[in-house]
């Protein structure tokens, strides 16, 4: 058989049922690819070889039993049974680490399963390991990980995006067909865009946050990465739905049609006929790379040709998205991260023998600079005398941003299409010294979090050899139509030449002499002392 890592999850599921492949073989193929190439990518923080193989054996047993019991039992098997998956390292899995990319959670072992992990285990999915991320999901490049940056398999000198960069890179590199990420301001969609994979941020409240290390509670959502819309829909279906442990999870039913997206490209493409698509002019901002803008206009043009009606709309409060986001998200984060005090778990420094001094030392050394910056921002915004001017005002603007979108839905549009990121993947180190430049990476994604809407990024071709993501934004709870639209776009671009391309530098990662992202970063630092490069001696 050809390399099974190149299959889509739904193809793997079919082979598992027909007995043409075992979950063990599938898992082994993915584990060895991940183990072989992680040196050059640093997408994985931990790989659970033994546990994964044990889960694979258990899945094989379930599949074998179902096969003996007959077709009905085989059809009743969960579509993820025996399928490998990666989890961002802020998803709690009982007995495993959950560093959230931070030194302060080094050594912490979660004593319970997150709801997402529990649902995946019940489905029979095989958890391969935990992926790299910006510390506490604060970042857009995965460079703010305490465990070193992740490289983009399309160009190893570039970032994979972030904060779920490890998950995106692992899916793009065929280390896993599926991965879980979180998205607070773009942390699933932006790395999906930069790595050329599919990523969904569901409606706020769609997926339980229980057991997911929190960044900003009113914005965080958990979602899937996959290599096509069908797989992403299947994974979303598996983890979505009301959870009594998360009071903000909604009782909204999860449509089973998510498991039945069109298999044929033509059938899928037919969905576009008569659909009304909004193109917000504010999302084609200054600073957007022409190649990115071109790909998005081409993608929307292709949809129009397939029968969709595309109209330009205005989302007038878009400009305030970034500023208000950087009040609300840090404010919630400053409170959410207060629990990391070294008293009960994780990293601590108790050398001073006095608890306030120990707190200061623990948090001073345990948090990275970006996390500290946001804790400071958030603490300031919530302080007495500033609360009304910052936090309260930001919440009011948030309502206006949401109203912009409501007007689009009220006007009868089925979806909004926009770029996911204004640029393709940027070089390692290019934005780490300029927080605002880094924050601007999420200008097109974070308003969607502010409005609580579902959004996704799907590959829309390349610019300068690097992936460009098309963002599809839907009305609340409209994930099914959003995915049908994504699937339709896959249908009309099924024969596009870029569809067959694998990440350009993935092969380099097989070479053990290829430098690791950490080595690249070190080199860059020493190179930075060269004239004109910014001086960091």
């Amino acid at each position: 058989m050809a390399d099974p890592t190149r299959l889509r999850a739904h193809e793997m599921a079919a082979l598992l049922r027909s007995g043409e492949i075992s979950s063990r073989a599938l898992t082994e193929a993915h584990l060895s690819a991940a183990e072989r190439q992680n040196h050059a990518l640093n997408a994985w923080l931990v790989i659970y070889r033994e546990n994964a193989l044990a889960q694979a054996d258990a899945a094989d047993k379930r599949i074998a039993e179902a096969r003996r019991a007959g077709t009905a039992a085989l059809n009743a098997l969960h579509p993820l049974c025996g399928i490998p998956i990666a989890l961002k390292d802020l998803v709690s899995v009982k007995g495993g680490q959950a560093t959230a990319g931070s030194k302060i959670l080094k050594g912490y072992i979660a004593p319970f399963d997150s709801t997402v992990a529990a649902r995946l285990k019940d489905a029979g999915a095989v958890i391969l390991g935990k992926t790299n991320m910006d510390e506490f999901a604060m970042g857009s490049s995965t460079e703010h990980s305490a465990y070193g940056p992740t490289a983009n398999p399309w160009d190893l000198t570039r970032v994979p995006g972030g904060s779920s960069g490890g998950s995106a890179a692992a899916v793009a590199s065929f280390h896993t067909p599926l991965a879980i990420g979180t998205d607070t301001g773009g942390s699933i969609r932006q790395p999906a865009s930069m790595c050329g994979v599919v990523g969904i941020k569901p409606t706020y409240g769609r997926v339980s946050r229980y057991g997911i290390v929190a960044f900003a509670s009113s914005l965080d959502q958990i979602g899937p990465f996959a290599r096509d819309a069908r797989d992403a829909a299947t994974l979303l279906h598996a983890v979505a739905g009301r959870d009594d442990r998360d009071a903000t999870s909604a009782p909204e039913p999860v449509p089973t049609e998510l498991l039945g997206l069109a298999t044929s490209d033509d059938e899928a493409a037919a969905y576009l006929k008569g659909k009304r698509i909004a193109l917000p002019k504010e999302y084609f901002v200054e600073g957007m790379e022409p190649g990115v803008a071109a790909r998005i206009r081409e993608a929307v043009g292709a949809m129009e040709q397939a029968g969709a009606r595309v109209e330009e709309v205005s989302l007038p409060h878009t400009d305030y998205g970034l500023a208000t986001y950087y009040i609300i998200a840090p404010a919630e984060a400053s409170s959410n991260l207060a629990r990391f005090d070294g008293v009960r778990y994780g990293y601590n420094d108790r050398s001073s023998g006095e608890f306030i001094a120990d707190y200061i030392k623990t948090r001073g050394a345990g948090f990275g600079p970006e996390v500290k910056r946001r804790i400071m921002l958030g603490t300031y915004a919530l302080s007495a005398g500033y609360y009304d001017a910052y936090y309260l005002k930001a919440q009011k603007v948030r309502t206006l941003i949401k109203a912009d979108f409501d007007a689009v839905w009220a006007a009868g549009f089925d979806a909004i299409c926009a770029p996911t990121s204004p640029t393709v993947a940027f070089s390692l180190g290019a934005r780490t010294e300029d927080p605002v430049a880094m924050y601007l990476s999420d200008a097109c994604t974070l308003p969607i979090n502010m409005a609580g809407l579902p959004g996704m990024s799907i590959p829309a071709g390349l610019s300068d050899g690097l992936p460009v993501g098309l963002q599809i934004i839907g009305a609340p709870w409209s994930e099914l139509s959003m995915l049908r639209l994504a699937r339709a776009y896959e249908g009309i671009t099924a024969r596009a030449p870029w569809r067959d391309l694998e990440p350009a530098e993935l092969q380099l990662t097989d070479d053990p002499t290829t430098p690791s992202p950490i080595e690249r970063k070190e080199r860059q630092k020493s190179g930075a002392s060269a004239p004109g490069a910014g001086g960091h001696s």
């Binding site: 802020l90 709690s92 959950a98 959230a100 959670l105 912490y108 979660a110 004593p111 319970f112 997150s114 946050r209 229980y210 057991g211 997911i212 290390v213 929190a214 900003a216 509670s217 009113s218 009594d244 442990r245 998360d246 009071a247 903000t248 404010a331 919630e332 400053s334 409170s335 991260l337 207060a338 629990r339 990391f340 005090d341 008293v343 009960r344 778990y345 608890f355 306030i356 707190y359 603490t379 919530l382 302080s383 007495a384 609360y387 936090y391």
Partner: protein
């Protein structure tokens, strides 16, 4: 300070008026904690045996609302005639301390469940009403235990241990307006609130084990002045007596300070029971900026009219209503009604005995409860209990003249101590009174025949001899004779045979 002010002197109140506000935290009586499923039966349990990822604040955990805790606060709102919010929400109170595992406490800041209530109660100077500003719901913290080198618990510790069993226990905080003027009013307010909590079942409100914690904000101002003085917060008052004494002490202390040309400083002071004085804990200037903001993990809560009506319908008769009813329905004095109502066990005994249906007069029953029962409860033999059905039976015997009052008290004492049935005690001890005229007559005749000297004394004008003769009859009947009938029979016979 060198000289301690008089513990409960009234000197200061001649020149100053005290302004007192009370904050009370009550642990609500729920099966599980405020935001997780942990069992609340933590009393006497091993440390850290009643906690889970949620109340330990582990990464990724989320709170879920305990509906019955919310209902207790709403019930309290109705009981104090307050306004129950139609929409309420939770806020985070952010501060760092090792006993607070999330680095914030989930509380209610801007939209408390209950606002603008009031509570009326009796004092030695008559009825008094205190306005309640708000009642809200929050979670308790863990408990710090400080140990020295040898593992002894001390305040200046070598190391500190944390017990998270209390973390996440449901607490209701009830805050008054600064309406209270005397230490007695403060104690009475706390007592009445405790009674209310116990009556509606919201809390056991035992101060000794921290189920009810009373804090007072105390300031004084010269009589006649509008502006408030500088206030001092007093904590660590572990009994109702301590509440009254601590506040009285604080009023005197502040008056002495001002009289001596000094000034009161904003501070938190603790009550020290052994020395009967307050001591400085920390200056109030250091108060944290708690950075309150709406808890994003919990959606706002809407209280539907149907839900509120159902909670209101479940409320039992409230103490104030019950006191009035006892006076109007049973003709009890205000004092007796209060004694009965202020102690839930007494109320239950009284109501239970009434319900036993022996048809005994309520007033007689009330006397037994406020008299003998209360005496026994407060006395050395306390630890016993009285069964309402047995009390009713006993009082019926007394009312029917079937047992003497003196013997009835003995029977009751024995029942209280041993729980034995009244009829059995009366039987075993031969206390059933001889009220049969024939039987009594025989005994009286025998005594007269056997005591000619006493009979002669009586006839010689010594009326007191009757007492001796009654005693002899009682002795002969082993106390079972109806003393009043004996006396009548004696006098009749002595007059006749003259």
């Amino acid at each position: 300070m060198t000289s301690a002010p008089a513990a409960a002197g009234t000197g200061a109140l001649a020149r100053y008026e005290a302004v007192i506000g009370i904050e009370i935290h009550c642990q609500l009586k729920t099966a599980s904690k405020m935001f997780c499923a942990c069992d609340t039966q933590i009393e006497g349990a091993e440390p850290n045996s009643h906690c889970c990822p949620v109340c330990l604040g582990l990464p990724g955990t989320l709170p879920t609302i305990n509906k019955s805790a919310v209902e207790w606060v709403i019930a309290t709102g109705f009981a104090i005639d307050g306004e129950v919010a139609t929409t309420t929400r939770w806020d985070r109170k952010n501060y760092f301390y090792p006993d607070i595992p999330k680095g914030y406490q989930i509380s209610q800041y801007q939209l408390p469940l209950v606002a603008n209530g009031k509570l009326t109660f009796d004092t030695s100077e008559g009825p008094f009403t205190v306005r309640v500003r708000r009642a809200h719901l929050e979670e308790d913290t863990g408990r710090l235990i400080h140990e020295d080198r040898d593992g002894r618990r001390v305040s200046l510790a070598r190391r500190s241990l944390i017990d998270f069993d209390r973390s996440g226990m449901p607490l209701m905080e009830i805050v008054t307006e600064p309406d209270i003027r005397t230490a007695e009013q403060a104690r009475r307010y706390a007592e009445e609130l405790r009674l209310l909590m116990r009556t509606i079942g919201a809390s056991d409100a035992e101060m000794e084990n921290g189920q009810m914690r009373v804090e007072a904000n105390v300031s004084i101002r010269p009589i006649g002045r509008e502006a408030f003085g500088t206030r001092v917060e007093v904590k660590n008052m572990n009994s109702m007596r301590a509440v009254e004494r601590a506040i009285a002490f604080e009023i005197e202390r502040q008056a002495e300070l001002i009289d001596g040309g000094g000034a009161v400083h904003m501070e938190t002071r603790g009550w020290d029971d052994p020395s009967q004085s307050t001591y400085h804990m920390r200056p109030k200037e250091e108060e944290n900026d708690y950075r309150y903001f709406p808890e994003p993990d919990l959606p706002p809560l809407t209280t539907t009219p149907e839900w509120l009506a159902a909670i209101k319908a479940r409320l039992p008769e409230l103490p104030a209503v019950r006191r009035t009813r006892y006076q109007t329905e049973f003709g009890l004095s205000g004092y007796d009604a209060s004694v009965l109502v202020n102690d839930l066990a007494s109320t239950a005994l009284f109501e239970g005995a009434l319900a036993a249906g022996e048809g005994v007069p309520a007033k007689l029953l009330a006397n037994w409860v406020t008299g003998e029962y209360m005496r026994l409860v407060k006395g050395e033999e306390s630890g016993g209990s009285a069964d309402p059905v047995q009390l009713a039976a006993l009082v019926k015997l007394v009312a029917d003249g079937a047992i003497s009052g003196t013997n009835a008290k003995e029977v009751f004492a024995e029942h209280f101590a041993t729980g034995r049935v009244v009829a059995a005690i009366v039987e075993a001890r031969g206390f059933r009174q001889i009220s049969d005229a024939g039987a009594l007559g025989t005994a009286v005749d025998e005594v007269l025949a056997a005591n000619p000297a006493a009979v002669a004394d009586y006839r010689a004008g010594k009326g007191a001899a009757v007492g001796f003769l009654v005693g002899q009859v009682m002795k002969a009947t082993r106390g079972q004779a109806n003393a009043a009938m004996v006396q009548t029979a004696l006098r009749e016979r002595l007059a006749k045979t003259e």
